[in-house]
Each structure stands twice: as structure tokens, then as C-alpha cells.
Amino acid sequence: MARFCSLQEAVEGAVHDGDVVAMEGFTHLIPFAAGHEMIRQGRRGLTLVRMTPDLIYDQLIGAGCAARLVFSWGGNPGVGSLHRLRDAVEHDWPRPLALEEYSHAAMACAYDAGAAHLPFAMFRGAPGGLAAVNPNFRSVVCPFTGETLTAIPSLQPDVTVIHAQRADREGNVMIEGIIGVQKEAVLAARRAIVTVEEVVERFDGRQPNACILPHWTVHAIAVVPGGAFPSYAYGYYPRDNPFYLAWDDISRDRETFRSWLDEHVIKAGPDAFAARARQVA
């Protein structure tokens, strides 16, 4: 049953050291404010799960929160490398990072199976080298046709964190635009916390097929306007593409990254996000 609380309380209550944490949002609605809260709270040893680690996991990895990364594409979209991710993999800085690597199709299917509470996901996987470096790639034989299909364990995170446009007073959550894999990631998780742009009385005039997570699928909701910045919230503010370009320089050097983190994360709070998003809206 969804409980409205502060972001600090939501993260304290749901995210613990060593947890398997999925923070989803496919380019859109990436829960940056919640990620920053985990950094401020000094979480350690997390297994971070996300199809596209993006800047949010670059920041968590650089801040030393992560021990393991489960992912399928780890770049700065349209820009290049995630330098903090690379530094962790190539030089163990600030600490070693184990990789559990999939393709997009594999991870999408693993979330889908997780939402169904099935033990594994099955799909027609493509041949390639990933299976040689990730022992979770196995196979299963179709009992009807004899075809060999790829099997991987389903994803069932300890906690899933997403950002959404709005919640109603009851705590139902609505997502619009590129909906990514958020519904599956929430339904697959033991606990789910959601940050939202705003709370409305009710979802007036909604489409009958709107993507809605009922309040009984969500544990905590924190209102954080701008909480997806520098990604975007469709209908609220656009993606700050210049920031994604600027991140290349900010993140390339350890000291520049540290001072950015100190100023914009450690010494800031969730309230700072509203002003950041207003700059691009």
C-alpha cells in the first residue's frame, strides 16, 4: 500500500546496503533524485540493475555505491563512454565492479518474467560472445517443437525505483510517453518506490489504456518535481541534452567528478531538482 513520504524516508526504508536495486526509465523518467539520495545516504555494496546505466549509474558507481552492475548497454547515449563506469571496470576505481552483462532483449525478457514471478525468461537468443562470459545464459528445449531456446534467470530486484509524472491522492501512479520497462520492474520487485512530479486529486480524462500502477503495487511515493532531470518527464520538461554532452568532461577526470558530486549531490537535496528542470522547461 503506497505511503506518501519524503524521498529521504523512502530511500531509508526501502534501500539497504547490499540490496539488488533496479532504477529504470528508458532514457525517459530516469529517477536521478532518488539516485542522488542513495549517494547522500552512503549506500554500499549495491547490485545495480538497469538496461542502460546512463549518467545515473555512472554517478552511483563513481560515488562508490556499487559492487555489481547488471546491464545491457553502458554508454552516454549519442555522446560516448560512461567514464566512471569505465574507470571502475578498467582500473577498479573507486572500487572493483563486477559485471553481469546481457543484451536488451535478454534483460527486457528477464524483467517480464520477473513481473510474472516466473523463475526464468525464455527467448530466441542470438548467437554471440555474451554467453561465454555470462554463465546465466543457458538453454531450454521446447517440449512441443524440440527447438532450443535461450534461458536466463528472471529479474526480481529487492527494490525497484522509478520516477513518474503523477500520482493521485490514493497513491496510484501514472506514466506517459516512453514507458520503457518500468511497469515490469515494479511488478517484479519486492519493494517499489516512486518519485513523482506532482500529486493530483484524480486522473481526470485519462485514456482507458493508460499505464497505471495501482497503489497496492507501490510501497512509498515521494513528490520530487524535476526528479528525473537531466533526463526528462514527458509533458513537464525536456531532456537536458547539453548536460548529457557536458557530462563527458565532468566525468572524465576523477577530481572534476568528485567536486561536481560534492556540489550538486552531497551538498544539495531533492528540492534542488525543481529549479534544474525549470531551466530547461
Binding site: H28, G74, V89, H104, A105, R124, V181, N241, L245
Partner: protein, 255 residues
């Protein structure tokens, strides 16, 4: 009209697709090529990005596969699991464009690591949608700038299967799709040999010599007997491409 090698590569790639194609589009040169096709000779082409945006018509090139404009101009937007479970594997997507850091003579691709996997010299972004895309799209076009660092005798990692070891390898694995049909570089166009599937240069770009292609390819590269010259970009193609790039730079605040 003069043009850059990058522009020639983008125009040559755009000419590979038509109105009836349903294209799975990646960010960067593929996105530029597909949108150039849509804005010139193929106004009814269907473009799909892996964010689930189907039949999208952006006015500027997206920086990421999930920019808001892709959703705002799409016919419909589906979830990522729906895209990778229903739409991609069903064989309904006719063309997929891919890039990579490394390619070998059978158009297998590496976008995972340079150096050993466990201790890479360079950790690249990884597979993303590429492996299943290369298996499920009817044909694959690869856009990749030509250099010895990229055109390798042996890949550091096999991220995406192209033609495997050649000579019908895909078919022996049970794949029914054509796989890589063209490789478009800034020097030439390569196509797989009918029998061996080894990449063969079928067209040299204007002013490019065989020696330049050989110098930029680690393996002893083959040339087709009826080697053609790539048709240079038309002024109208260059104008549309440059206007698209100018709108894009302005929109993203790129320097």
C-alpha cells in the same frame, strides 16, 4: 557541390532504404541516414527506435534513442519488453542499421571491449539491441568509418554475429534472415560474397583508390570484378542533410 566523407557515407546509407522498409534505427549515423531517406526519396518509410517508438517522424535527430520528440511524433509507443518480445523477433522489421567498434571479414561485430573481457583496455558500451536485431531483421546495413583499428582480422569480442565463419554459417545455425547485406564506410561499399559471405568491395567512393582501402583494412581485402564507383551525393541530398544537422545542433546546444 563539395562534401565530406561523413556526408557521402550517410547519403550512401540513406539510398539503401525505401518507402516499404520498416527500419530499426540506432543513434548516430544510422539515425541520420534513415531520417535523410525519409526527408528525400522515402517519405513513407517506417522508422522504429528501440525505446518502443514506432513510425516516428522527428524534425531533428535525437541525441538518445528515447528523446521526447520520438514519442511525440510516433504513431504509437510500446513498452520495451513489448518491443523486444513481439515486434523485433516477429520478422516484421525489414532493415536494421548497426555500427560497431570492430568488424571482421564476415561482418561480425564487436561493440563490447577492446582487449580481454575481464581486463579490457577499453570498456565499450556493450550489446544493447544489436545481437537480436542482427538475427531478426530481414537485412542488416552496417555503417562504420574505415580504419585498420576497426577492420580487424580477429575481433577482440564477438558481440553480434554477422555471417559467422561464412559459407552458410547463419543458415546452419537456423537463422532465416539475410544478415549483413552491405557495409558502408567512408571509403567504399562492401557486400558479402554470394558463396563465402566474405566482405567484398563492390563500390569505391569517388577519388578513393584500392590501395587506400587495403591500407585501412587489416585482412587482405577482396574487390569485385565489376567494381563500381559510388554515385556522389546530389545537391538536394546534401542540402536536406545539412539542414537536418543544423536543426539538430541548435536543438541540442552542441558546440
Amino acid at each position: 557541390m563539395t562534401y565530406t566523407p561523413d556526408e557521402l557515407m550517410t547519403v550512401a546509407a540513406a539510398r539503401c532504404v525505401g518507402n516499404d522498409d520498416v527500419c530499426f534505427v540506432g543513434i548516430g549515423l544510422p539515425s541520420a541516414a534513415c531520417n535523410l531517406a525519409r526527408l528525400t526519396h522515402a517519405p513513407r518509410i517506417t522508422l522504429i527506435y528501440e525505446s518502443g517508438t514506432i513510425a516516428t517522424r522527428p524534425s531533428v535527430l535525437p541525441l538518445s534513442i528515447g528523446d521526447g520528440e520520438l514519442c511525440a511524433t510516433a504513431l504509437t509507443t510500446v513498452s520495451v519488453p513489448e518491443f523486444f518480445r513481439y515486434w523485433l523477433p516477429s520478422g516484421r522489421i525489414s532493415v536494421g542499421f548497426l555500427g560497431a567498434a570492430q568488424i571482421d571479414r564476415f561482418a561480425n561485430l564487436n561493440s563490447t571491449v577492446i582487449g580481454p573481457y575481464d581486463r579490457p583496455a577499453v570498456r565499450l558500451p556493450g550489446a544493447g539491441g544489436a545481437p537480436e536485431m542482427a538475427a531478426a531483421c530481414q537485412r542488416i546495413f552496417i555503417i562504420i568509418p574505415h580504419s585498420r583499428r576497426a577492420f580487424r582480422t580477429r575481433l577482440d569480442f564477438l558481440t553480434t554475429l554477422g555471417h559467422g565463419d561464412g559459407s552458410g554459417h547463419r543458415a546452419r545455425l537456423g537463422l532465416t534472415t539475410a544478415g549483413p547485406a552491405k557495409v558502408i564506410t567512408d571509403l567504399c561499399v562492401m557486400e558479402p560474397d554470394d558463396r563465402t559471405q566474405e566482405l567484398t568491395v563492390t563500390s569505391l567512393h569517388p577519388g578513393i583508390s584500392k590501395a587506400q582501402v587495403e591500407a585501412a583494412t587489416e585482412w587482405p581485402v577482396r574487390f569485385a570484378a565489376d567494381l563500381a564507383e559510388t554515385r556522389p551525393p546530389e545537391p538536394c541530398e546534401l542540402e536536406v542533410l545539412r539542414a537536418l544537422r543544423a536543426r539538430t545542433s541548435e536543438a541540442h546546444g552542441a558546440t
